[in-house]
């Protein structure tokens, strides 16, 4: 066990856990941030995607000891009231079916748009390929990313 001071969604939070504990379980079990989902535990499905700095990370493979001073953002902290352009685009396209993977999809998509504000279809497919949607809402996810890119460009 060791104490870690983590910068999560703009707040410093202390946890006392085994240093090998993946951020996924620190968030879900210790900080009650359950929007980040467990899907595979081996970074193959993307349901657990969070941001470290501005980069999308699979939190199931990110030990708490590797985070250090870097700022972590989860779906709960992506925007204050759900007004992030990606979240709004998701609502506009009514993307979700079961909804379980969508937090991970949104976190991955928002990181993509940060680094590439106007991605092509091929760039979206490549960037999003690690995020499985078992309900297969892929076409709506792609459409929503394009809408979010447009609305970000306007604002």
């Amino acid at each position: 066990m060791a104490a870690f001071n983590l910068k999560i969604n703009g707040k410093v939070q202390q946890v006392n856990v085994d240093p090998a504990t993946p951020m996924l379980w620190v968030l879900r079990d210790h900080l009650n941030l359950v929007g980040t989902k467990y899907g595979c535990g081996i970074a193959q499905c993307g349901a657990c995607t969070i941001h470290m700095g501005e980069v999308a990370m699979r939190s199931c493979q990110l030990p708490v000891s590797a985070v250090g001073e870097q700022a972590i953002t989860t779906i709960e902290g992506l925007s204050e009231k759900g007004y992030h352009p990606v979240q709004q685009a998701w609502l506009e396209h009514d993307v979700a079916q079961c909804g379980y993977c969508q937090a991970g999809q949104i976190m991955n998509a928002s990181a993509l748009l940060k680094s590439n504000p106007n991605p092509t279809d091929a760039e979206i497919e490549t960037a999003m390929n690690g995020n499985i949607c078992r309900c297969a809402t892929y076409l709506r996810i792609k459409a929503a990313i394009k809408t979010a890119a447009k609305s970000t460009a306007k604002s």
């Binding site: 379980y100 937090a103 809402t137 076409l139």
Partner: protein, 752 residues
């Protein structure tokens, strides 16, 4: 429009109802989760009045509608309340939706499966809405002293034109709740629908995109422990011994033990399937600690002997199931299936003289198709919360058919059925796997033993290797054509492990369209468990049959759509037999619609087209795929679908469901499959089990609905089966090679 997640406890409900004198008082807290519509929260009524199980109206006109069926992504939590709202005649903006807890007494049918939710709710829920509206009209008539027949409603407001009186539903709700429920009400004509047929967004949309705790895996309870199971690595094995001394001393661990689910003599309900009746269990404080301990646990396994149990059939009667001994492998399955395909099967239907007709036929073609076991792979792994105390059980978990788990829980926990309270969690996918409630029972047994609230969590590996798979199937089709290319004889012999696909399908097309027809089935038993999987049985038959008919049409020298339309003409004008379970006009209708929408006869450079049509779960579907080959890999450029499901209740959500079924079908056709070696499932996570990903989805999908006023049928399943064949037929055009065995692409998953 918003939704509320917190279920209402039945006992609290009764207590509060009594206190409030027929109305219902709820605390402010249960709405605080829905920050999406702060105006709703600030306008929370002081009092609620229940008009029936589905409808409560607040004194300020806010309406709560209960969605009875469990939700796993079909969006019934939106579309079922739309049925209530339509007949109640309220403004959708003033509606709050809540997931009902399990209570058959209150809701009669709480079953999500078989694409039946909308179909089965169509009359009852509209009637519930119309009944409540009638009670509000009656209350206004009494208050205003005017004839009820002169009162009209619009968007939650009652009007009496002659006296210019007007009142919101909220003002009349208290009085309406005291009235007798009218025995008969009239329902709207389709032409008068204001909500049905107009797209409404998912009521949980905001909660989903902001990461709210919607799933039982997200659930927290004071003092809650985490439990995980260790199940045998192979079908045909069981626990011999558990060495737990090291595990018990690991950090955060509370206990390690084994549990047994059902006694051998217990007569199981239809969905009481367990792959492993005995499990090792690790209980501790946090998921990560329990997960590490689970890996450290040393369990010795031994092979099982043959065993039996009695299970009630779905739909009546019961049977004895024999679970054979042995460690099975896919290679052995294939060999045994090929042997069965050579022997006569059980005849399920016979018209005319098939053997004689095949002899006379100018051309005969015979082809055999196969498909592997499939794992459901819901994104949310199996999990369940349970809190069992001396006198009751509180359960919150993902379950499609809660009705069938109650008897098992009651018997195993030693609690009366009425002391078992099940709240229905939103499910992170179901696909048929969540029809089976072993995880509810496991969580409850563990909680009872620990005397603590427990959340049971399966790892992905536990989930993928647990079983309850889509069976593996094989079917041999044979067709005879006369000199003019007319179909004069047709036979299918199909079977599977551990279930055949044909039992409910022998009267499907092309039965009824051919004079000489034979359907035979065989089954091989197995200890690998099977379960319902999106469009059970049809998910194989649709692809196999429609691939075969494509090849028969080619042999007849006919366009594949024209060839099918000729058969539907025959089935309509001179049907063979009386048991044909399809409407040839509606079947032909979707084919004609997809032909027109896809401009079927057009040819595009480097685009290869395949067509397919299938009727299952009461919905007619025809699909066309446009395929190109890029670097020897198939790329689905576009899919056209034509669908006849009667009235389309929530059109955009219906399209979403259809898109999902199509992409899921393409994924399973190309990549899906579970294999076994010595009883061990050979894939245990997404690095090995290939699911379709973003870059492999079709570039575009167009879904067209037949305009219809027929009663609606479901959409969760029907778009799934035919796409396997549309894809196979397009692949044939692209490669010159027919696809007989799924998955079509033998690929090794590359970790992403």
């Amino acid at each position: 429009m918003t939704s509320v997640n917190k279920g209402i406890n039945r006992r609290d409900f009764l207590k509060v109802t009594a206190l409030a004198g027929g109305g219902m008082l709820l605390s402010f807290s249960w709405l605080t989760g829905c920050k999406s519509t702060p105006e709703v929260v600030s306008n929370l009524p002081k009092e609620w009045f229940e008009l029936n199980s589905y409808i409560k109206i607040g004194d300020n006109g806010l309406v709560t509608l209960f969605s009875p069926n469990p939700e796993f992504g079909q969006n019934i939590k939106t579309s079922l309340p739309m049925l209530l709202a339509e007949e109640l005649d309220v403004d959708w903006k003033n509606v709050v939706v809540e997931q009902a807890d399990f209570s058959i007494k209150r809701f009669e049918r709480q079953f999500t499966g078989g694409s039946t939710s909308i179909q089965m709710a169509w009359e009852p829920l509209r009637t519930a809405g119309a009944t409540a509206r009638q009670m509000l009209i009656q209350a206004a008539a009494q208050t205003w002293q005017v004839p009820a027949s002169e009162i009209t409603t619009k968007d939650g407001v009652l009007h009496h034109q002659k006296s210019s009186k007007e009142a919101g539903y909220g003002e009349m709700a208290s009085q309406a709740a005291k009235l007798e429920v009218p025995k008969e009400v009239s329902l709207k004509k389709a032409a008068d629908f204001k909500i049905i047929g107009k797209s409404k967004r998912n009521v949980e949309g905001f909660n989903i995109v902001t990461g709210k705790p919607l799933f039982s895996l997200d659930y927290k309870h004071e003092g809650m422990l985490i439990a995980m199971i260790v199940h045998p690595p192979a079908f045909g094995q069981k626990i011999k011994s558990v060495e737990d001394s090291a595990a018990k001393s690991m950090p955060g661990i509370k206990d390690v033990f084994t549990i047994k689910l059902f006694d051998e003599e217990f007569e199981r309900q239809a969905f009481d399937i367990t792959s492993f009746n005995q499990l090792a269990v690790v209980v501790g404080n946090t998921t990560w600690e329990v997960m590490q301990t689970k890996k450290a646990l040393k369990v010795e396994w031994e092979n099982t002997k043959e065993s039996n149990f009695v299970i009630n059939n779905f739909g009546g009667g019961k049977k004895t199931v024999t679970v054979p001994a042995g460690l099975e492998s896919t290679a052995q399955h294939k060999k045994l299936m090929a042997e069965m395909a050579e022997k006569p099967g059980t005849i399920l239907r016979k018209d005319g003289d098939p053997a004689g007709a095949f002899k006379k036929a100018a051309k005969v073609i015979e082809r055999t198709y196969s498909a592997p076991f499939l794992a459901h792979n819901t994104m949310e792994p199996v999990n369940c919360f349970a809190h069992v105390t001396a006198d009751k059980a509180e359960i919150y978990g993902p379950i499609q058919i809660p009705e069938f788990v109650v008897a098992g829980l009651s018997t195993r926990l030693g609690l009366p059925k009425e002391k078992i309270h099940i709240r229905l969690a939103r499910m992170g996918g179901g696909f048929g796997q969540r029809s089976y409630g072993h995880h509810l029972l496991e969580a409850a047994i563990i909680s009872q033993k620990m005397k603590a609230p427990v959340k049971l969590v399966y790892t992905r590996e536990d989930d993928m290797t647990y079983g309850i798979y889509r069976p593996t199937y094989m079917a041999t089709y044979k067709a005879g054509l006369d000199e003019k290319g007319n179909l004069i004889a047709y036979s299918i012999k199909a079977g599977g492990i551990p279930e055949g696909p044909l039992g409910w399908a022998q009267n499907r097309f092309p039965a009824g369209a051919v004079d000489n027809y034979l359907a035979e089935e065989w089954v091989l038993n197995s200890n690998i468990t099977m379960g319902t999987f999106r469009a059970p049985r049809s998910n194989f038959l649709g692809g196999a049959e429609q691939s075969f008919l494509d090849e028969v049409a080619e042999l007849a020298g006919k366009d594949p759509i024209d060839f099918r339309l000729e058969l539907f003409d025959r089935a309509k004008n001179k049907p063979v037999g009386k048991e044909n379970n399809y409407d040839p006009d509606r079947y032909a209708g979707v084919l004609k619609l997809v032909r027109d929408k896809s401009d079927w006869k057009q040819t595009k450079k480097n685009v290869h087209r395949g067509v397919s049509a299938y009727f299952c779960h009461n919905t007619y579907v025809a699909e066309v795929i446009d395929l190109s080959m890029q670097e020897n890999k198939p790329v689905v450029e576009k899919v056209y679908a034509a669908v006849d499901c009667g009235v389309v209740v929530n059109p955009d959500a219906a399209i979403n469901m259809g898109q999902g079924g199509i992409i899921d079908g393409i994924g399973n056709a190309l990549y899906g499959g579970m294999t076994f070696q010595d009883g061990v499932p050979q894939k245990n996570n997404f690095d090995k089990y290939r699911l379709i990903r973003h870059s492999e989805a079709p570039k575009a999908i167009e879904i067209h609905f037949v305009k219809s006023e027929e009663n609606p049928t479901g959409l969760g399943e029907p778009l799934f089966p035919p796409i396997f064949a549309a894809l196979a037929n397009a692949l044939y055009k692209a490669t010159g090679k027919r696809e007989y065995d799924q998955p079509f692409l033998q690929v090794n998953e590359q970790p992403v």
